[in-house]
Symmetry: none
Subunit: 225 residues, 2 copies
């Protein structure tokens, strides 16, 4: 999952970035409204964290612009503690959730997780497919009850596929969602990780559709030949 943070205070921004990266997200960080707006318009994000108190262009305008351009990613707005009006205005402009500063990092992560889950149409924070179970809260994966150790990238890839269970996902789409900004698109890393995940969780879990991409299916929907 790939996140954009638009936050003008560099310390907080960087701290958030590392925290989220440790939680398994690919994170882009922007320190001003203009750049932030550009990134949000250009790249594919699964969620955006937006500070309203930005210099130059303020957060609200950025949000408004995105929505007018038809961007649909969920936006979590950060406001000052007692700014009632900001909250209202934010929701009006199309924010999906908001959080008052200062806040607990854990709270932020929890809300973010919920936003992404809802945006992908899932209702529970536990995603399952066959006897693979992925808990987005703890970041743990189990196979038939047994915990499985996945590396960071393996987890990101699996998580994205799990969030889009049943959909055919192209290799470019995967790259765009599990890596941040600067990444060379010409490589076979995706294939490598798919292989590794299959080794750990069983080959059946991920289906290859030649020329199109991959698809993760729940065996509950009996696949036939």
């Amino acid at each position: 999952m790939r996140i954009l943070i638009v936050e003008d205070e560099p310390t907080l921004g960087k701290q958030l970035k590392t925290t989220l990266e440790q939680s398994g997200y690919a994170v882009d960080l922007s320190v001003d409204g203009e750049d932030g707006h550009f990134l949000g318009s250009t790249e594919d994000y699964d969620a955006v964290i937006l500070d309203l108190g930005l210099p130059e262009i303020d957060g609200l305008s950025v949000l408004g612009m995105w929505r007018r351009e038809g961007r649909t990613f969920p936006v979590l707005v950060l406001t000052a503690r007692d700014s009632w009006s900001d909250k209202v205005a934010g929701l009006d402009a199309g924010a999906d959730d908001y959080l008052a500063k200062p806040f607990q990092t854990e709270e932020l992560i929890a809300r973010l997780r919920a936003l992404i889950r809802r945006a992908s149409g899932n209702t529970s924070s536990e995603l399952t497919a066959g006897d693979v179970r992925l808990d987005t809260r703890s970041g743990r994966v189990t196979l038939a009850g047994e915990p499985v150790k996945l590396t960071a990238q393996e987890y990101k890839l699996l998580s994205y596929l799990m969030h889009h269970k049943g959909k055919v996902v192209s290799r470019t789409e995967l790259i765009e969602h599990i890596y941040d900004q600067d990444f060379d698109r010409d490589s076979n890393t995706i294939e490598v990780f798919v292989t590794r995940i299959r080794k750990k969780l069983g080959a059946e879990i991920i289906t290859t559709i030649r020329g199109l991409g991959y698809s993760l299916d729940d065996p509950a929907d009996a696949p036939r030949a």
Copy 2:
């Protein structure tokens, strides 16, 4: 489905081409207005993506020429971010939708899908015929609820027929819409794929009309005595 991209910036053009190909489209790419105009006038496309900021002949003229020639394919216009006049002029000249650069790839794909769907007179992104169901968003096909695994070409062929349910489609038309520019039109691949699809989905699904082509009918509409 076959798409024409007219985009002068080679990097963006190629990237779009591969992305769309991974989404199951046959794609022709043209880097200048003149060539683009020629292709659009000569070949049969299900949709065209047209950048307005072209060198030599500009996009608007190309669009105008096509419309005057009676070309009806849906055109998705790419404009610079804040070029209000371009947007208006574009819609005047006969564009069906427009997208401001820069944009998110997924957004483009979604709009393209919508354009093609509308152009073929369908209202939902799920196409059905008998107990065959094709979901254009996820790219999956089910038979009586059971997921069916189709290869890339099988999917393209079926998708085209589904979009033109009830219409008699000639073999040449099929070839023109599921392959791109350079393809040897003298072969029996279409027949081969029709056979394969029939094997997977049941022979009744595709009717042969001798000397004319094929037709996919919904049994709901009384087939004909």
